[in-house]
Symmetry: C2
Subunit: 496 residues, 2 copies
């Protein structure tokens, strides 16, 4: 038995994660049988299940289920190690089944579970279907994974764990949906999977194969963006699907849903419409999408950069790309670097990549709410100058006061976010021949869990393992909102 | 007489600024006579003096010197309008003497007084010498201008004016140099001008003409970066000056001095060495320059990107460019976009442009101290997680506590800084054919008072007046640290 409560707690929960993985891998295994993917693939999933079970058992052996205590440090360590162990196990089918290198398999798994969507695999259309399915399934699991983790951990943690992430905690803290957290998590997953099935069924009706419909729904709602078509969603227009216009609008709508705080979806389905109507983050999120789409559409028409496309096509392509980018999904129906989009549009895209979706959603980026907080903070600073009585002016959002501590945390996170992007960019420059702008874009895409970057997919696949390892850390740091990854490398956090 | 104390105060000080301008313009007028620049130029300076005197008189007429009160809002409005009126008057010699358009002349004057160093004038080598001299002199005046403004205003202001700018106030507040602020300002200018004369004399000894030595010293210590040679400082190597190596090292050294907090220079000359030794900002500033120079030099040698250059040449070129960029001077001895510098070096340059020099120096950018504060803040956030007793941990710097309010202000400033760069980039994209990256670089250079950008000087000169106006606002916002420019456009600040 482990003496340290901290190590005991971490190993205990990691073993549970390993067992869950063994259980989940059964799904792609069944798919492998259905699609007759061959012995290599069956074995890959068998071995993954066995290794997961062995890992779970070994991790569980020294632990004592009575000696569990989750403080903030433990929760963070658990968060970081949890994502890593799940990605390591999730990488096994790629290593065993399609003989990819360790680093590429691990990269792909981290890109999956963090819903980043950068791929280092080429020839996806020729791959076994169960492998493609597993790639998409990882994104589905990762999408709601982080919110689940926070909610579950919170049942066992002290009050401070609610504070794990400034803005997240703000939302959850103010209005904890129901007393029973397990019930909340269950309902959230039901909503999430409900959306996923709804999208799949609609897409099947619109002519997609069952396989395509599910794999793409997985990566729509998780804002992951994996697609096994080189042309991404443009594939359906290119390949002559008669309903491709509706397909594009439907995927746009579900990407949008993936970018909304799932606690708002929860409230919608539990009849609490009022708090949705007054939610400032949702309002800003919708405004950002609508205004920028209208602006860019008009700009394209005025500047006449679209060639033969008509107004509806321009609007649809713009709406799709804007939604895909701000939700950090990374699907595409038109190359965002083509001259179709004027330079101003491309700049807006870049800013939207940085912003990302809502807090509590499956999206990456800095998150719209944090942007709102910064905006409020700035207004307060201005007011402080011209208001003569120098009253203590709080920063408020949705009738709640954001305390200085929360703003400090946000500032700290944001500055470290910048530092990591810079370090990642410099490492990329040193170990590759990419130019400065391209080098930055790789780490930027990884940290924001976005997907697209400003060099070719083949180039990404061929990068040095040192760069890939850097991006892996970047993807994890982005998804886990930095602090758990820092704590992972902080010696003092492991003590005692 | 004006009833409003606010308007009375602002007009009173603006009139003083106009009179000072009339007085200063006498210097380039004398130069014009010495260099026989012709009647057009004499008239340009005459008219400028007369218009300045008339402006000063008109502004002074309705004011009452007894009815002066400077609160924070008034100080900010004064700061913004002061820089604008001085630039408007300073633009007159360009409009009258060399028949430049209003927008180009105003742009050049703002670029001068804010020490940005972006030029929209072409054919500088053919221009009358007194005009070139005036361009450089504006930078000399602007360089120490902002610190002077804060210090002078503070004598008449309430305590809160000390808080004008978070980090600035932090330094000044903690250790107000001497009780008599006028004496301090006088000593600071003596140090500044002393450095300037010293550099000029050394450069004359090294073979520069008296004219070249002074105009370049003006723009070295002010970290302004105006040069009337297309090749900037590389001119001296290119034109066969035998001491060009020493010239480059000397200019590097004085750029460095310009990037140091002038209150530290003050302490040095008043014998307070201890506080210099313990100054964390100075330490970080020196470390950033040294470590990056060594790193880039080694990288160039390893990657063999320098061709025929020897190690000393590589080191010298790197040191010069690093110092020029981090101090936001913008002088060059080697094109930073050439393959001489590997991509990693160019990324470091970009980051250094963002960082800028020290607080209280003549440099632009975010400032090294703010970077230090962010670093401390982040460390504190990490400590808060693993320290079990949850003590209130202050963010400390140089034995002083940085309070949350100051960090909030910093965050507000920084976020608005980003917003302005984005807005400027989008405006540039809409009204020009520059690509996304180039479009950003223009506003980035303006906001950081840097100088260099990623498109040609001819292109800058030919940009739409809308873009030039945007950059003018950007240069002013960068130099005045944003808040005064926001207050200028805030209706409520003008009330009462
Ligand atoms: K993504
Ligand atoms: K400059």
């Amino acid at each position: 038995m482990l003496k340290s409560t901290k190590y005991n707690t971490i190993l205990y929960f990691l073993s549970i994660l390993a067992f869950i993985m063994a259980f989940i891998i059964v799904i792609p295994l069944i798919l492998a049988f259905i699609y007759q993917d061959g012995n290599n693939i069956y074995q890959a999933f068998y071995y993954t299940i066995i290794i997961s079970l062995i890992t779970g058992t070994i991790l569980k052996l020294p632990t004592d289920p009575e000696n569990i205590y989750i403080d903030l440090t433990t929760a963070m360590l658990l968060c970081a190690t949890g994502w890593i162990i799940v990605s390591l196990l999730g990488a096994l089918p790629f290593m065993i089944g399609i003989e990819k290198s360790f680093i590429d398999s691990f990269f792909e798994a981290v890109s999956g579970f963090t819903t980043t969507g950068i791929t280092v695999f080429t020839g996806l259309d020729l791959m076994p279907k169960s492998i493609i399915f597993w790639r998409s399934l990882m994104q589905l699991l990762g999408g709601l994974g982080i919110l689940t983790f926070f909610l579950l951990i919170s049942t066992r943690a002290q009050g401070e764990t609610w504070q794990l992430f400034s803005a997240e905690s703000h939302k959850i803290n103010v209005s904890r949906p129901v007393p029973n957290i397990f019930k909340t998590v269950k309902i959230l997953w039901m909503i999430y999977l409900g959306f996923m099935f709804l999208e799949s069924i609609i897409l099947i009706f619109l002519g997609l194969s069952v396989f395509d419909a599910f794999t793409h729904s997985f990566t729509t709602l998780s804002t992951g963006g994996f697609s096994h078509y080189d042309a991404s969603i443009a594939h359906y227009a290119n390949s002559g699907y008669s309903h491709y216009i509706l397909i594009e609008y439907i995927i746009t709508f579900f990407m949008f849903l993936g970018g909304v705080n799932f606690l708002l979806h929860f409230r919608f389905f539990t009849g609490n419409y009022k708090s949705i109507k007054n939610n400032s983050e949702l309002k800003t999120f919708i405004k950002l999408i609508l205004y920028s789409t209208i602006f860019i559409t008009i700009l394209i028409i005025i500047l006449n950069t679209a060639g033969n496309f008509n107004a509806e096509e321009i609007f649809r392509k713009t709406l799709f790309q804007v939604t895909s980018i701000i939700t950090t999904t990374g699907f595409g129906t038109h190359d965002i670097n083509s001259t179709f989009f004027p330079a101003a549009a491309r700049q807006i895209f870049l800013v939207f990549m940085l912003i990302g979706g809502s807090v509590g959603s499956t999206a990456g980026g800095i998150k719209v709410m944090r942007l709102n907080i910064l905006g409020r903070l700035f207004k307060r600073e201005i007011k402080k100058i011209y208001l003569p009585d120098h009253a203590v002016l709080p920063v408020t959002l949705d009738q709640g006061i954001i305390d200085s501590d929360e703003i400090n945390k946000l500032t700290g996170l944001f500055s470290f976010w910048l530092v990591l992007i810079v370090v990642g960019g410099i490492i990329t420059s040193i170990f590759s021949d990419l130019d400065g702008w391209q080098a930055f874009s790789g780490m930027f895409s990884a940290m924001g869990n976005i997907g697209p970057f400003f060099f070719s997919v083949e180039k990404m696949a061929s990068l040095s393992p040192i760069i890939k390892m850097t991006y892996i850390i970047g993807m994890l740091a982005g998804r886990l909102e930095i602090l758990p990854i820092i704590i992972l490398f902080t010696k003092k956090a492991w003590e005692k």
